[in-house]
Symmetry: D2
Subunit: 433 residues, 4 copies
C-alpha cells in the first residue's frame, strides 16, 4: 500500500471529475469521438506517454457500423470548431478515432494494457433537476446524444491512471499501454483495434467498466457475464408495383422481411447453452397501395459461447437468403458489430483480487461472476491476448446509479473514479511474474 | 348545339386556366383544403349559387383518415394567412372542408349533381424545365405536396360549370348541385358527404375526372373500372424487454406484425371475382437489442365487388386479431378509407353519350368500360343515389398526360378544361325525363 | 335426321348399358386401366377398327403421377386373372393403358377425333339401397375404388360410336379416331398421348363428358370453364435429431414445410385473371420428440389461363426452394399432373350445335360457357390440335345426377348414353368443309 | 456388508434373468401392461407383500395419453389369453395397470418407496444375430413393440428386491413400498399414481433406471438431468371446400397448422434456463384439390425448470389459439403427458452413495449429475414426496449397451440386474433417521 499514492489520488480527484464532466458535456457517437480522442491524445502526449492515434491503431476496413461520410464529416467539423488540437484531430479524420498510449519503463517485464472506451449513445439526456449533470450544468450539449453508459468516466479514469503512472515511471517494470477504444456501443470498435495489432504485444490485459450491476464499494475482478454477439443490418430490395393493378410483377420486400422475421425467430436452440435472436427494428414500404420494394431490418444474435453465436448468425443468414429466394428479392446482410465470448484468465483475476483487496473505497472484491451483463467487445481484445498466451480480464468497479445504463437519467457516482484509478494503478505497479 | 355557349366557353377559358393554376400552386392535403374550399365557396356565392359548407355538408364523425389536430390547425392558419374570405373559411375549421352549391331553376325537374374533388397528394413536384407548372411559375408552393391527380383541374371545371349555369339559369329545369368533395385521395371523404345527406335529393349524378388513361379528345361516359376498397391502419402494442436479458417477458409487436403480414397475404381468393390485399408500409421497433413494443401497418384490401372487399376486410381483421392473440399483444384496426363497387347507370350513360357526341374537342365518346382504374370514393355517392332510385355515372374526360397520375411530373393538358365544362353544361341544360 | 340411325341406337342401348355397368363394376385407377383398356381394344378390334394400344399411343416418359411398380403389377395381375384378352393386355403392361382406334373411310376428308377417358377414383362406393349400382348389383367390386365421375359411361359411349360408325363406314369421309385416354383424374394422362402424337393428324377434335352441371336434355357444345392447372408433389428431406438433446443439429423438414405452406398461400394474385393454389395434404414427421426429417405435400395450382398457372407453378417452386434453403433441407418438386387452359374453337362449336339441334333427347343446345368446372386434361389434346390448325371443343352431354361428381352416391342417368352416342355419330357423319 | 445377502443374490440371479426375458418377450404399450402387471401382482402376492392394483393405485381421470377403447380391449384380451391370473388381471381392466406392493416391518421407521416402470415402446425389435434377444429366443413376440428402454429389467429388479426383502422382513424398520408404474413412455403415467396418493405416506423415494449413459459398474445416485416437459396433441377442425371452386368458404385447417408451427417455433427463450419445443408430427388434409378440414399435430415442450416448461406450454397454447382464430378454425389442445423438473434430495443422495459404495459390481458411485438425459415422469412422484417433506432421488445403475435407448438393437447387460437389486436392498435395509 502506498500512502503517497493515496495522497496523490486525493489531489487528482478534482481533475478526474473535471475531465469526466467535460466529456459528459460533449458526448460523441462511435467513430465520431473526434473531440474526445483528440483531447485524450493531447493530454497523454503532455504527460510524456508515447501516443499513437488514427490509422496506426485502427484498421480502417475492420471498423464495423461506420456512420456515413456526411455524419463523419459533420462530427469532425464540430470537433474542429471546438478548438481541440489539430495535431491530433487530423490523424482521426474519417473515423479513425482510436488512441493508444505507451509508457515504457525501460526495465524488463510484462506489457500491461488497460482498455477504456470513448463513445456515447443516441439518448436524449434527462433535464430533471434531480439529474446531477442537468443540475450542475454539464449535461450533454449535443441534442439526442448522451454519455448514458459511463464511458465519460472510463475515459477520465484512463487519464487519471496515465497521470499517476507517468509520475511513477521509475516504479514500473515492463510497459503499460492505455487503450482508448472508439465505438464500443454496438460492439463495433474493438475488432479494428485488434486487427491493427494493438494488443499483440500485451501480456496482461484489463478492461474496466463502472456500474453494470455492482454497487459502490464492490469490485468484480473477472466479469464473465458477456454473451458473444453479432449485430446484423439486413436489407431486402425487390420491385415495386401497383398492388391493385399488377400485383404479379411486384417483388415484395416487405413480405420477404415478414417471412424472414418469422423464420429468424424459429432457429432451434443450441444444446451447448443459451442463444438469443432479436429483430429490433423493421422499416418497409412507403405507400399503402404500392408493393414495397425495400425493407430494412436491424437484428442481433447472441450466444453463451462464440460458437453458439456463430451458429445463430450463420443460421440467420441462411434464413434471410431463403426468404429472399422465396420472394424473388435480393438480400444484403452486413455485420455491423460483433463480440466474442468472455472468459477472464483465472490466475490474472486472482492476482488482481489480491492486489486491490482492502484499498480505500473497496469493501468487497469479487473474483469471477457469470451473471448476464449484455455484450461487450473488449472480449475481442481479451481473446486476442489470450490466444497469444497472455492473461486478460474484465473488471467492474461498482457505482451506485440513480438510473440504469442506457437510461436518460443514468449517472455515475463520481466517487468511484478515484477508486478505479487507484485500483488500476496498483495493478500496474504491482510486481508480477 | 349552342353557338352562344361555345363562344362563352371560349371567353371563359383564360379564367379556367387561371383558377386551375391558382389551385395547383396551393395544393392542400385531404381535410385541409381550407384555402381551396373557401375560395370556391366565395366564388360560387358571388355567382349567385346557394352555398353550403362545413358542418352542413360534412358529417364530422363519418370522416375517415382525418389528420391530427396539429396538422389541421397549421393548415387552417396557413389558409387564413393566405387572405381567403373568413366568412367561408371559418365554417371549414377542424377539417370540415366540403362545399355544396345549389342552383334552383324554380321549374319542376330532376335534381342533377356534379361532383368534383379538391385535395392534393404528398408528392414533391418536379422542378424540371420540361414540367409546365415549373416552367410557367405555378408549381406547388407547399414543399412535398402537389396536385398530381388533376383535382386542381376538376375544381376549376366545377367553377366553370357554375359560371355558365348561373348565366343560363332560365334555360334550366329542376335543380343543379355542385359538390366539391374533400379527401378523395385515400377514399376518405365521400362517406362524410353521403352521411350528411348531400345526395339524398339527387336524381342524376355525375362525377368527373380528367385523364385516367383516356387520351385527349375521348370522353368515357360510364367508367366502371373501380374496385371496392378498404384502407386500414393497424397498430400492435406489446411490451418491450431486453432481448438478451429477459426475452420471456417481452410481448413482441414486431413479431406479431410479421405473422400478421404473412397471414394477411394468405387469404383465400374469392370465386366471385378479383380480390387484392397489400401491406404497403410497416414500421416496428426502435432498437436492435429491445423487443419491439409497437408496430404499425398500413394496408388496403380491394374487391371486384363490395361483397368481396367486405370478405377481404373481415378476413384481414380476423387474421390481425389472431396474430395479436398468438403473441399476447393488442391490435387496433382503424378504417381510414373506403369505397364501394362501381356500376354506372346504363340509361344515364346512354343519355350523356348522346348529349355530348360531336361537341367541339370530343372526338370519341365511349359508353361503359370496366378496365381497372384503381379505386375512387365517388362510388359511395353513386351507390347512395342509385339506392334511392336515381341514376349515377362516373365520367372521364380524356387528357394527354406527360407523366402518369401520382408522379412528380404529372400535369394535365389544360385544353381539356373547356371541353369538360362544355360537356357538363350541356348535360345540365339538356332536357330529360 | 336418320330414322335408320335412331332405330339402330335404340337397339344398341341395352349393350351400352351392359358395357357401362361392366366397367362400373370393375373400376381401375389411372395407369392401371388394364382390364378396361384391354376389353375396349378387343371390342374395337372385333368391330373392324384399326386398334393401337400401349407404347404406340402412350409416350411412357410423359406419363405423370404414375403409381409405383408394385401397384402397377398387382393391378395388371388382377386384370389378367379377370380373363381379358392377353393379346391386348400384354401391350398395356407397366401402365401403358391408352387405346386409339382408327376407321379410315378411304375417301378424302378431315380426320375427326373423339376422346373419352377410362379411369376411376379412390372413393368407396355407396352401398345404399337408393344407389342404383348397389341396388342392381353392378357396384364396384374393388374396395375403395369407384367410377364416381362417369368415365364408365364415357367408355361405353366410345364403344357405341365405334359400333355405329363401323356399320356406316361407307357414309363417312376422311378418318375417325377414337381416343380412350387413361389417367384423366389428376390430369395425368393426356400429355403422354399428346407426346405420342395421337392427335397430330387430327383436324377436328371433340372430348365428351357427362353431367358436369348440365341437366339431362341439355348439351353444351363448347365448355370453356376449365382452369389450367398443375399438380405438384413436394418432398422435403432434412436430418432428424433429438429435439431435447441436440436440436441444433437437426434440419427440420416439418418446419420447412410449414414455412412453405404459409409462403405458397401468399403468392400475389395475377391481374390477368383468377389464380388458385391449394396445399391439400401434408404429412411430416413421425415422433413427437424427434425433429422431422421428412415432409410431403400435395399441392395444386390453377389459373384462368395457362400463363397464369405457369406463373403460379413457378412462384410455388421458388417459394419451396426458398423454404428449403432457409431450413437447410432439400426439396424435391415433381409435377404429377398438368392441364392447360380451355378455349373451344368457335366455328367448330357452331357446327356441332347446328348438327345436333333437335335430335331426340336433346332439348337445349348451348354453345360456349365459361362457368367454372374444375380442370380437365383433354385441354392438352385440344391445344395440340389447335396449335396445328385444327378445331377442338369440349362437349358436355347433360345428365340428371343423384349426387355430385366424386361423391360415393354419384351415378349417371343411363338414358344419356344413347343421346351422347347419337350426337357424336351425327357429328362424325355430318358432311363438313 | 452382508455375505448372506450376496449369496442370496447370486442364487436369485437366474430368476432375475428369467423374469426380465419373459417381460422382454411380451412388451406391452403404456396403459396396456395387462400381462406384465398381472404377472407382477401375482408374484408379489405370492411373496407375501400386500398388493394393491388397478383403481386403488391409479386415478383414472389423471391418466394421460390413454389409448382408445378398442386398443385397450384388444390388449386386455391378449393378456387374458396368455393365461395370467384373472384375479389380478380383472382389476386392471380399462387401462388401470398400476401395481403397488407394501411390506410393513411392524417396527417404527420411515416409509421407503422404490419405483420401477412397466411399459414398452412402438419399435420393431432387431432380428440380427448380434442382438441377444433374437439370438437367444426372447425377442418381442408382439410385432412393432419392444422393450427398448430397459423397463423389462426394471420390473425384474423390482421383483428381485421384493424377493429379498420378503425374506428379510425382520431386518427392516418402517415400511417398504414397491411401485410398478405404467405408461412412463410419453410421461403419461406417474401423475395418475400421484393423484391416487400412492406416495403420500412416503418418506424416502428412489426411482431406478438402467443405462442412460452410465457404463456398467457406475451408479449415479442423484440424476438431476431431466427436463420438465409437456406433451400436447393439437387438432384443428375447419371446413372443407373445393379449392378451385369456392376457396372463400373453406376454413383451412392445414394452413392454421402451418401458421401454428411457425409460431410455435418462435417462442422467445427464457432467461432462467433452457427451453425446447418440437412439433414432431403433423398430418393434415386428404385430397390435393380440397381445402383441408382437419390437421393434427403432436408437440412437446421442455424446460430446465417446471416454470420454464409451464411458460412454453402456455405460450404454445396461446399461439395455437391465435392461429385458429386467424383462420377461423377451432383448436383442441390435449395434454397427453407431463413431467416436472428433477432435483434429487442432497441428503438422501449422500446417504445412498455411502450405503452402496464398494458393493460388488459397483466401481464408481456418483452423487449429483445434471447432464441432460431427456425427460422422466418419476419426477412427478419425486416432487410430490418432496413437497410433503420427504426425500427423493433418481438413481441410475450403469449398464454397457450395444445400442442406444429407443433403438431396435437396444439391450441391457443383464449383469447389471443383481447389482441394482443388491443396491436397492441395501438401501432398504440400511438403518436411517
Amino acid at each position: 500500500m502506498s500512502p503517497t499514492l493515496a495522497a496523490r489520488i486525493e489531489a487528482l480527484t478534482p481533475q478526474l471529475t473535471a475531465w469526466r464532466r467535460d466529456f459528459h458535456r460533449h458526448p460523441e457517437p462511435g467513430w465520431c469521438e473526434f473531440r474526445t480522442a483528440a483531447t485524450v491524445a493531447a493530454i497523454l502526449d503532455g504527460l510524456g506517454w508515447t501516443v499513437a492515434a488514427g490509422a496506426e491503431v485502427v484498421d480502417a476496413p475492420a471498423r464495423m457500423g461506420l456512420p456515413d461520410d456526411a455524419t463523419l464529416s459533420a462530427a469532425f467539423e464540430r470537433a474542429r470548431q471546438s478548438g481541440v488540437s489539430p495535431k491530433w484531430l487530423d490523424r482521426l479524420a474519417g473515423g479513425l478515432t482510436g488512441v493508444v498510449a505507451t509508457l515504457d519503463s525501460g526495465r524488463p517485464g510484462p506489457t500491461l494494457a488497460i482498455r477504456v472506451d470513448l463513445d456515447a449513445l443516441p439518448i436524449a439526456e434527462s433535464q430533471a433537476a434531480s439529474h446531477c449533470p442537468a443540475a450542475e450544468g454539464f449535461a450533454s450539449c449535443h441534442a439526442g446524444w448522451m454519455h448514458a453508459c459511463g464511458h465519460d468516466g472510463h475515459t477520465a479514469i484512463g487519464l487519471g491512471v496515465a497521470t499517476l503512472l507517468a509520475e511513477r515511471r521509475d516504479q514500473l517494470v515492463g510497459r503499460v499501454k492505455l487503450i482508448f477504444q472508439p465505438a464500443e456501443e454496438g460492439v463495433r470498435g474493438a475488432a479494428a483495434l485488434a486487427e491493427a495489432g494493438v494488443v499483440d504485444d500485451v501480456d496482461r490485459f484489463v478492461a474496466v467498466h463502472l456500474g453494470l450491476g455492482c454497487p459502490g464499494g464492490t469490485v468484480l475482478c473477472g466479469c464473465d457475464g458477456f454473451l458473444a454477439t453479432s449485430k446484423l443490418d439486413i436489407r431486402f430490395d425487390g420491385r415495386s408495383a401497383h398492388a391493385g393493378g399488377q400485383p404479379e410483377i411486384g417483388r415484395n420486400a416487405l413480405l420477404a422481411a415478414a417471412f424472414a422475421v418469422t423464420g429468424l425467430h424459429s432457429i432451434a436452440p443450441h444444446s451447448a447453452g443459451a442463444s438469443r435472436l432479436n429483430v429490433g427494428r423493421l422499416r418497409a414500404g412507403t405507400a399503402r397501395n404500392a408493393i414495397a420494394d425495400r425493407a430494412e431490418l436491424e437484428i442481433e444474435t447472441r450466444g453463451a459461447t462464440t460458437a453458439i453465436d456463430d451458429y445463430m448468425r450463420e443460421r440467420a443468414a441462411q434464413i434471410i437468403h431463403g426468404a429472399a429466394l422465396a420472394q424473388g428479392v435480393t438480400a444484403d446482410v452486413v455485420c455491423v458489430g460483433r463480440a466474442v465470448e468472455c472468459a477472464s484468465s483465472p490466475d490474472w483475476v486472482a492476482r488482481i483480487a489480491s492486489t486491490i483487496a482492502g484499498l480505500p473505497g473497496i469493501e468487497q472484491v469479487l473474483a469471477h461472476d457469470r451473471s448476464p451483463r449484455g455484450s461487450e467487445d473488449a472480449t475481442t481484445l481479451m481473446a486476442r491476448v489470450q490466444a497469444r498466451g497472455g492473461w486478460a480480464t474484465y473488471m467492474i468497479v461498482g457505482s451506485d446509479l440513480p438510473a440504469g445504463h442506457h437510461q436518460p437519467a443514468f449517472d455515475i457516482d463520481e466517487s468511484c473514479l478515484p477508486v478505479a484509478v487507484r485500483a488500476l494503478a496498483e495493478v500496474a505497479l504491482a510486481p508480477g511474474p
